[in-house]
Amino acid sequence: MVEVEKLPPKVNEEQKRLVALSGNEAQAEAMRQINPDVVAAYPITPQTEIVMQFAQFVADGKVDTEYVPVESEHSAMSACIGAAAAGARAMTATSAQGLALMWELLYIASGMRLPIVMAVVARALSANLNIHCDHSDVMGARDSGWIQIFAEDPQEAYDSLIQAVVIAERARLPVMVITDGFIISHAVHPVTVYPDEAVREFIGEYKPEFSLLNVQHPITMGPVDLPDYYMEHKRQQTEAMKRAKEIILQVGEEFANFFGTKVYRLMELESMEDAEVALVSLGSSCGTVREAVRALRSQGIKVGAIKLRVFRPFPRDEIVKVLAGVKVIGVLDRADSFSTMGGPMFTEIKAALYDILVTQKQTAVTSFIPLGGPKVVNYIYGLGGRDLRIEQVEVLFHELLEIAAGKQVEQIWRYIGVRE
């Protein structure tokens, strides 16, 4: 990366407010400051507070938003698609079954290249009925062409939602910002909030290239796309995803320069410089893992952690660069894929490492990974809101170190914290 001359941030410390906000409150606050043209949403636990508070902002005249109270999430996303096609800045929020009900619309939003921003408060999918956190809802949407950004805490949720508006409009792709249900959505943390005008200046005015409502220039959106064109449009979409990586990094830099925050990137590293073993995780668990790393490091044990912030587009090259030198990697998945070969992030990371090993022409054969290199194991945890405790993480690190020392592993992926 090119070194840029550091200028003082536009927003100074006196202009910021440090307040206690839950994840949901922080995101509702961000939405108030973003002041979108249209919000269409349907309440679902644990996302309810976001739309409830936002509806109050609308009722109190604190925003200019056209609020569409719809009868389902299917309609919520449909209304957002219509609004975005008309050239509006459109936002929504959902969880679990609500996201599942949006499924077909998710693909329409991304296929039509509409920059819709959605707060997803991650929750387990039924059955059985469970309102608590896991990532099975968002992982179900991982191939829908949406950018997926995971926030560890309310501060990151607030910051990421503001960045998401800019990312979506530059990449011409929809973005979901994901927080862990209850663990973050309902937990109050200290959050630094920026002045309204500063947020509005940062996101700027949305100037869509096309608007369906511009009667002076009629256009067609979402036409029938047969075998002779459909594939070209998918090819464009995948290119947009590739470009989105650079845009996310750019917006992260700009955000830091503007508000004087940390620089948001594709991932965050904890003690990875000389780590022998590492855990990779998403969302709120990253904080718990970080605590465990620091505790072990204080005893001189060389462990590290990667917090993956952006899951789509998947930062393959970046993550491989960090992991290539590690002996054993543990991947923490808060969802099962039921493929019988591990969780969704596990298979992604293994696939990413396989490619890099081939290009490095490492051909040493072990029983673990055919081409040598780091060993990767998978822990599926926290389904339906089951807690992940720091002591458990410590045990996992010790297991990774044992594998690094030569211990044979019977199962390369398994559930942890489950009654066997």
Binding site: R113, R172, F210, P223, D228, Y229, E232, R235, Q236
Partner: protein
Amino acid sequence: MSAVAQRNLIEIRWHARAGQGAKTAANILAQAALREGKYAQSFPEFGPERRGAPMQAFNRLSDEPFYMHSGITEPDIVIVVDPRLMETIPVTDGLKPNGWVIVNTHFSPEEAQVRWELKPFKVATVDASAIARETLKQDIPNVPLLGAFAKVTGLVSLETLQSDTVHRLEKRFRDRPQVIEANLKALERGFNEVSWVDAQVFEPILAEPSQIAFKSWTELQEGGIIPEPSTSLLYRTGSWRLERPVFDPQKCVQCLMCWLVCPDSAIVLESGKVVGIDYDHCKGCGLCSLQCPPKAKALTMVLEAEFDKK
């Protein structure tokens, strides 16, 4: 010749409009071939899935089992169910030299060979639409064309097609045996009335198959947005017509009902008065003629074939 091209396989391409029964005819042909101990495939390819839109159907026939599921681009036989497609669609694209073109038309094979530049091919013609109108009382030319196919190629027998037709229709038309009779008659007349001529040119065809210049993904508008209005005017959908509305200005009372109901804005107005039809975009649905007041009768539907003869 590539190894793939040397397989002992007959590939057939049907050109028709949705609703003319090409898919059904291809299915019947595959069934008949199976009954005669051959291996067969039949599959359609649809565009806008709308009655009147150009479509294709395909057959593969072989004495040996085969497994490919790809489209057919170099057929041995082309069957043209709607002769008006000869002018709008490159029906002989990829057709093997000395291959068959079987066309539903009132022209003789010699006339067809000259009119549509089919000299490198064997050409068979049969007025399947006329036979269908006389026997089936509607313009469904697929059945007589199957009869013609059996006679010309010998790949299936008339007897198999006949028994298949009976088998296929007997349950549905148990109370109306005359329908089955009419189908058998149409089949037989197609078989008897087809005539053909050999290819006149035997040099390999040098012309490249016609290629539409499609844009690459880097040149296309993102998300499939069509950034201009009125682009449908670029597509001359008038070739979809089987029947044409003919306008008589003397009889028109200018009620404008035709203009109101036309789904393709093909009724031409001048100073608020109907003056004619935009035949480049009229698809021949007949709604205007239905809506025209019976006392006026200023719009009547006439078979397109009538205009070919003139």
